[in-house]
Structure formats: C-alpha cells, structure tokens
Symmetry: C2
Subunit: 248 residues, 2 copies
C-alpha cells in the first residue's frame, strides 16, 4: 500500500508543510505495518529514524534487568516518536552510532506507520522554521506529560494514579469523538460517562507503575465505593466528583 498525502497531513508534525516538502518526505520515508505484539524497535538497536502513526497504537517501554516492564507512553493516531536522538545526539545519528531510547511494540493489529530516516529529514528541518516550531511544540507536550507521569508515580498512591488515568482517558476519548464528528460527520454521542480501555489491563498496570493484581484490586475498591462500574473493557464513571477529588 502506497503512502497517501492525506495520511501524512494527519500527522500533527507535518500538518502545515507545503506540498513540496510533503513530496520530499514521501519520497524517502517507508511505510510499515505491524500486528499486535510486533516490535518496531528495541532500545538496543541502531537508530534508523523516527516513526509516525497513521493508525493504530504503539507502546513505548523499558525493561529492567529482572524483566519488569514499565510503559512510558502509549502512542496513537497522528503521534510521532523516536525523534529525540535526532536532536539530542545529532553527531551520533550521522555516524550511525545512536540507539533508540526505548522499546516500541504495536498493541493493535494493523498498526500503520511511516518511518522517517533521520539524515534526509534533517535537511528539510534545517530549512523549515515552521517544522522546527512544530517539533518544539511536540517535545514540550511530551515533557509536560513525562513531568506529570513522574509526579504521579512519586507523589500519588495507586488509587489516585488510577483515578487520574480514568479522567484523562475520559477527556482524551471525548476529544477524539468530537474530532470524528467534525471531520467525518459521524453521528456519535457528544458526551458519555464511560471510557473504553484502549489497552490491556496488563499494559495499564505497567503504565501506572504497578502490576495487574494490584490494578484489579484498586479497580474493585473504586467500584466498592460506587465511584465506577467495570464491565470488562468499559469503565462507567458513576461519581465524577469523587473521582476528581481522588486524582488531586
């Protein structure tokens, strides 16, 4: 399947480039599709370039010596990842000495991506202030997310972290729905009081810095307090106020 221009324009980073630049990026980028469980890259691998997600979900994670996993980020449609080495260790990238900073695995079937090679891309970047500003915005948003991630893990117990996650997912999924209504004209409910877990409970636990048993118990606690109701992948929010009060 060939790369479409519209796919590229849906990537936030590239959304405002001119046709000429889009053409260039199309010409040297590779289109790659992954199934659930397939690896995009390991953190031991030589750096090849960054990825953009056209459609699907990718988890970025680290593994400890003992085999424990922690998910740093869940990336979705329109997101970009693995760009850090381009700016952080530019020299190393040019000399093929850089490595990927994390592991990346597809967690949806048919996860559809573009791989953008670093070297060719750098030339476009140097001539496009617009693109630089987009990258600055992207990296800043990521810094903000990592910041609150650290805050959660170091300053909040698991009940609070889970409450925060449910609320932020509710927000994200609402925005997602609003976007679909706007772009595709779909008739979707504007506002709902539930979230649908987009990832497995195992992955959620790993993202919250805990393990699945503890997550299970914590979900039950929130349910026992009549704050949420869990039906497999769907979590109904019955008491927003209390959930917000837990999440700080």
């Amino acid at each position: 399947m060939a790369l479409k221009e519209s796919d590229i324009r849906n990537i936030f980073l590239f959304s405002e480039l001119d046709n000429n630049e889009i053409e260039k990026i199309k010409s040297f980028s590779r289109h790659k599709t992954f199934n659930k469980g397939e690896i995009l890259f390991f953190d031991t691998e030589p750096y090849q370039g960054f990825y953009c997600i056209i459609e699907g979900t990718v988890k970025l994670y680290k593994i400890s010596k003992e085999g424990r996993e922690h998910i740093m980020h869940i990336m979705k449609d329109g997101d970009t990842f693995g760009e850090v080495p381009v700016f952080e260790n530019y020299e190393a990238v040019l000399r093929d000495l850089a490595k990927y900073p994390v592991n990346a695995m597809a967690i949806d079937d048919n996860t559809n991506t573009i791989q953008v090679p670093a070297k060719q891309f750098l030339e476009i970047l140097r001539n496009s202030n617009e693109l630089c500003m987009k990258f600055l915005s992207t990296l800043s948003k990521r810094l903000k997310i990592l910041n609150s991630h650290i805050q959660g893990i170091t300053l909040q117990d698991i009940k609070k972290r889970l409450s925060g996650y449910i609320l932020s997912e509710h927000k994200r999924q609402s925005e997602e729905r609003a976007k679909k209504i706007k772009v595709k004209g779909l008739k979707l409910p504007v506002s709902v009081n539930y979230i649908d877990l987009a990832i497995s409970k195992n992955d959620l636990a790993s993202h919250l810095g805990t393990i699945i048993e503890t997550l299970s118990r914590t979900l039950k606690k929130l349910q026992d307090e009549d704050i949420i109701e869990v039906n497999s992948k769907r979590i109904l929010i019955k008491n927003f106020k209390k959930l917000i009060s837990y999440s700080d």
Copy 2:
C-alpha cells in the same frame, strides 16, 4: 549588577547567537539574584518567562497534597528551565494565562539568573533557525534525562538508584573539572575517585524518590560493602566495578 555579554554567551542556548541578537536579549531580560531557599517561582504562578542560570543551583520540584516533595531536576550553571510553556501553550502565554509547570527554589547562595520574558523572545526565536535547533537539543536532552529518571524510579530499587546517581555525578563533576582546566587554565586534578555532594542529603533523597532516613541507611549499606566511603559531603568511590554493576 548589569548583565554582561559573556554571561549570556555562557548559556548553552545563546552560545552561538550573533551580537545583534545577544543585544536584543540583553535589552529586555532581567537580571535576578537569589539566596539559598528563595523561590524563583511556584507552579501556581502566572508564567512570566523562562530562566537561565549564570551561576548557582536551582531545584525544580513538585509537592503533593500531603506535603511530600519530589525534585524533578537540579539545574546548574549554563542551564535553562521553564521554557516548556512557551512552546507547549503558546496561545496561553500570549494571553497571560499560562502557569509555571513546576516550583523552582535556589539552593545555593547568590544564585545568579537571567529571566527572559516569553513574548519578546518569541520574535527572536521565529527568525533564528539556529536558536530553534538549540532549543530542540535542550528539550531533547531533558526528555532523555526524564526518561531515565522514570526508568530509575519505576524499575530500580533505591540502592541501584543511588549507585546510578553517584556514578552520573562522578561523570558530571569530571567533565566540569575538565572544562574549568580548559577555560580558566586552572590546575586541578584531572581524575579523582570521589564526588562532592552539591546538594543536601534531604534534596538528594527527594530527587531519588525516597526520604532522608532511607538514603542514610542505603549509603551505609554501600559503605558496609566497601563500595564507597562517606565523609559528610564527600563520597569516596572505592569499588567502581561493583557500583557500576549495581547501577544496571
């Protein structure tokens, strides 16, 4: 005390700007000095612009509802911080609605800083690809640091985190020494097998995601294993190999 051009050039971000740009930045930036314990900004405060450290040390931290503190970053000479809102929430900055993302406190006396107002700065940024690239590099380095920070906190116990910190400080202080020899021609020992703690043990504990009692016990454990020797602020490294093996 007036701002000197050489002070500005020592800030990594501004090191390669032309004289004209340096003059502009000088003209609208404010020179501010803080003593130990003084606050640069709180995370509840309206955003005024970012800071550069000419000399001194600043801790960036968050506080939980219960009053526990976690130090995200320790910033030193030449470092910049608080730039994220400029790129992350540009609109909000222009309308004076943005807030600082963390709290910042000086932890050295006579911490000497420049405060750069966001609005005027944005105009220079838009016309300088060079400056954009510098920022991309700065933010990427910070992302990398936050990444390993999360990794440490979620995947390593305190002994490992402490070992890692000692080694990274040893590296940083060695580079610092090398720089001073080069720039000022000082006669310093090129290589030493100790580190001098630049921050209080309380702050170190908070940075490692623990409390001072646990830090104290962990230092003692490493000392009992004959890996380090602690003399108040100086930590002698007696067994690099073991320290490295602990730090992953």
